[in-house]
């Protein structure tokens, strides 16, 4: 009897000691494999991308640590220089990725992409100039169409929309975008140049050809931008300097609309609901920009496009799997379906993404068709340029908008000097931007 009591007491003591150890020592949880991702999406866009990353985690068991900011250049560069880059970074600027590639700070994606590579065509997978022919360093995980002008079909017919283009006050325009303020202005110049001078001149300029900033075609494009925004004595150009892009574009569908035409990338539809009466995002319609912008002869000579390009900064199994996943049609379909029903679908360059993801979004389907159509498609020139050149371009556009009545020749001469300096400093230009 006593033996049993002693054994019982001993067992109880052991149990209590175990409880104490369990309580006192916080057990180290098993460490799941992790991949870190850096991109620009925040807010609602960040939440949708988060759903895609959740799907990746569900499929692979790999946890994702995501960080989003618009100050991509400053943040990423500091991380890379301090030796702690993210595993994968998604940048809107292939020019910036090219700079990292030239310094061997990102890795070729051949193995990570595998057969996904066949689903993309030029200009999306432009090889780096001078690199091995097979090497690609970035893949677009989401894309947008830029050579379009949006309007409210409930208010205007297409012809009416075109007829409003001559009055600067009709344009929705905001330059404010935190660290990248000024980029909407560069889009105007780029698209006007593409539609008026054609893809060859555009590509020559975007790839750093000497003298391309000071051509007459370039000056005409800058003058054209100023002319549209000052039409009918409008002060829209100057007003746009202190207007955030979301606020400016939101004015298109506000209860009391502040503008009628929005020359913006296709992603802008996601912001149209901000001030719109009722729930959800209103249905927007678009026109090819050549039908609205001056000096184009009404002929669409190409489509300016932009993307969010994934590059791999660390060669880990997890990073490769994430790149392969994000580039896949499956992931992009998840992305499209993760968007709330009343929010426009994102666009993709992967030709295998089924067309039916746009079944409930006629304008989105039309944009997708243009992105997959014959083209030519030309990458956003400022995104393709070396970052220092892009920054100078953005600043010059802000200066143009601050003084739209002044001839742009002085600005363009400065930009040509900047181009030469950037090139001399080893700036990396892409070999082509149109395809």
């Amino acid at each position: 009897m006593r033996g049993r009591r002693t054994a019982l007491a001993g067992a109880l003591a052991l149990l209590l000691a175990t409880a104490a150890v369990v309580g006192g020592v916080v057990g180290a949880a098993s460490q799941a494999p992790t991949v870190s991702v850096f991109a620009s999406w925040t807010g609602d866009e960040g939440a949708v991308f988060g759903a895609v990353l959740d799907d990746f985690t569900e499929r692979t068991g790999i946890e994702v640590e995501y960080q989003g900011t618009t100050a991509q250049r400053e943040v990423l560069m500091s991380q890379v220089r301090s030796g702690s880059p993210p595993d994968v970074a998604i940048l809107s600027s292939p020019g910036e990725l090219a700079e990292y590639a030239a310094r061997d700070e990102i890795l070729p994606l051949g193995a990570a992409l595998g057969e996904q590579r066949d689903a993309y065509r030029e200009p999306w997978l432009t090889p780096l100039s001078g690199a091995e022919a097979a090497d690609v360093y970035w893949v677009p995980v989401k894309v947008d169409l830029k050579s379009v002008v949006w309007y409210d079909p409930a208010r205007l017919s297409p012809d009416e929309a075109v007829s409003l283009a001559g009055d600067g006050d009709n344009w929705c325009l905001g330059m404010g975008s935190d660290a990248t303020s000024g980029w909407p202005g560069t889009d105007w110049v780029e698209d006007l140049l593409l539609q008026s001078a054609g893809p060859d001149a555009y590509e020559s300029w975007a790839t750093g050809t000497p003298g391309s900033w000071t051509t007459e075609e370039m000056a005409a494009a800058w003058r054209g931008v100023a002319q549209v925004l000052t039409g009918q004595g409008s002060t829209r150009a100057t007003e746009s300097l202190t207007q955030d892009i979301g606020v400016a574009s939101g004015g298109l569908f506000a209860a009391e609309p502040r503008c009628a035409l929005d020359h913006q990338s296709s992603f802008i539809r996601g912001l149209y609901g901000a001030e719109a009466p009722g729930d959800g995002v209103p249905e927007a319609a678009f026109l090819a920009s050549s039908t609205v912008l001056p000096g184009t002869g009404g002929r669409q000579r190409g489509w300016e496009v932009a993307g969010d390009f994934a590059g791999m900064f660390r060669d880990t199994q997890e990073a490769r799997r994430l790149i392969g996943y994000l580039a896949s049609a499956e992931a992009q379909e998840v992305w499209a379906r993760a968007v709330p029903d009343d929010v426009p679908s994102p666009m993709f360059a992967n030709s295998r993404v089924p067309r039916d993801v746009y079944a409930d979004d006629p304008a989105g389907g039309a944009v997708a068709d243009l992105l997959r159509g014959p083209g030519p498609h030309c990458l956003d020139a400022s995104d393709a340029m070396p970052p220092a050149m892009r920054d100078a371009f953005q600043q010059a556009v802000l200066r143009l908008l601050a003084a739209p009545d002044e001839p742009p020749d002085g600005l363009l001469a400065e930009l040509e000097v900047a181009r030469a300096a950037v090139t001399e400093d080893g700036g990396v230009w892409l070999s082509s931007v149109c395809g």
Partner: protein
């Protein structure tokens, strides 16, 4: 072996087992509470204050720059000395927060992001300092700087809020007397009581079988068990009190900073600076007083050999005595 000798052997084994278990439990319970004290004082609390300091300095830098650039004197003073000093304070504070490394890789990445954003922010301020006072670009550049600083969710101050929320979660983990601590201490005190009870029962058994009224070695073991349990529990209460006070003080300081903004600010930058200084001193004082208590952690395992020796010294002679009688 006779029944009495067997009973003595069993008691000896039980007492040694209980001693081992009780000392181990005391060690883990005591170490669990004291383990967080050093990191709170040296890492988490300073890092939280660093973030608040940086936020306050950035807002003051922005105000100073705006005042200087809109004063009409920007050609002479640029963004102003006040801007530069506050910006330097912010950068130094963020470097301090990074040294604290409170929230691991996630926190360091957040700090890198904020540092990058500050570079872009100061770029706009510097550009604003280069344009004429009447240029529309002045307002534009100040607007971009302002939105970079104050934009909800993605602005610099909002990101620092997020970072600090993570730091305060870590602080709560380090300072809250949660279920692991309660379980540890419940088990430790139960085991100490069981050991003391077993020692008393053994003394009663010996008094009955060996007709000795007192067994000083076993009494000593009982006293040491009860005293150690009481002392370590009291030390834990004191340390926990210091942690609670530090946590509350830090929360109050963050609250003061938040009161400087909004529609009706109820605090000024001077209040924030005062609160930061006061809290830093309070936390330092409170947590310094727990140093010697934390230093006791390493001595807790020594209770095992001490108690074991007392128990053996009390029981082995009786076992030997009984062996002699049964021969």
């Amino acid at each position: 072996m006779t029944g009495t000798r067997r009973a003595l052997s069993r008691r000896l084994i039980l007492l040694l087992a209980l001693t081992t278990a009780a000392v181990a439990a005391l060690f883990f319970a005591y170490a669990g509470v004291h383990r967080g004290a050093g990191p709170v004082r040296d890492g988490t609390a300073p890092a939280i204050l660093d973030v608040t300091t940086a936020q306050d300095a950035l807002r003051q830098a922005n105000d100073a720059a705006r005042n200087a650039l809109e004063s009409g004197q920007s050609a002479l003073v640029g963004a102003g000395g006040g801007y530069r000093i506050h910006l330097a304070v912010a950068n130094q504070s963020l470097a301090g927060a990074a040294e604290g490394d409170v929230t691991g890789d996630t926190g360091l990445r957040a700090l890198q992001t904020v540092s990058g954003l500050i570079v872009a922010y100061s770029g706009w301020i510097e550009r604003a300092a280069t344009v004429p006072d009447d240029s529309p670009l002045l307002d534009a550049y100040l607007h971009y700087a302002d939105t970079m600083l104050n934009r909800p969710v993605t602005g610099i101050l909002a990101r620092l809020d997020d970072l600090q929320a993570g730091q305060r979660t870590t602080l709560a983990d380090q300072t809250t007397f949660g279920w692991p601590g309660r379980l540890s201490w419940a088990a430790a005190l139960l085991l100490c009581a069981a050991l003391a009870g077993a020692l008393l029962e053994t003394q009663r058994f010996l008094r009955h079988r060996f007709r000795r009224r007192h067994h000083p070695w076993l009494l000593g073991a009982t006293a040491v068990t009860l005293a150690a349990g009481a002392l370590l529990a009291a030390g834990t209460v004191q340390t926990q009190h210091a942690k609670d006070a530090s946590r509350d003080q830090l929360a109050a300081t963050v609250g003061t900073w938040r009161s400087t903004s909004g529609d009706e600010p109820t605090a000024t930058p001077a209040d924030v600076a005062g609160a930061i200084r006061h809290t830093a001193q309070e936390v330092e004082t409170e947590m310094r007083d727990t140093d010697w208590l934390a230093g006791l952690t390493g001595w807790v395992p020594a209770l095992g050999p001490v108690l074991g020796a007392l128990i053996l010294r009390g029981l082995l002679p009786r076992l030997a005595e009984y062996r002699y009688r049964t021969r």
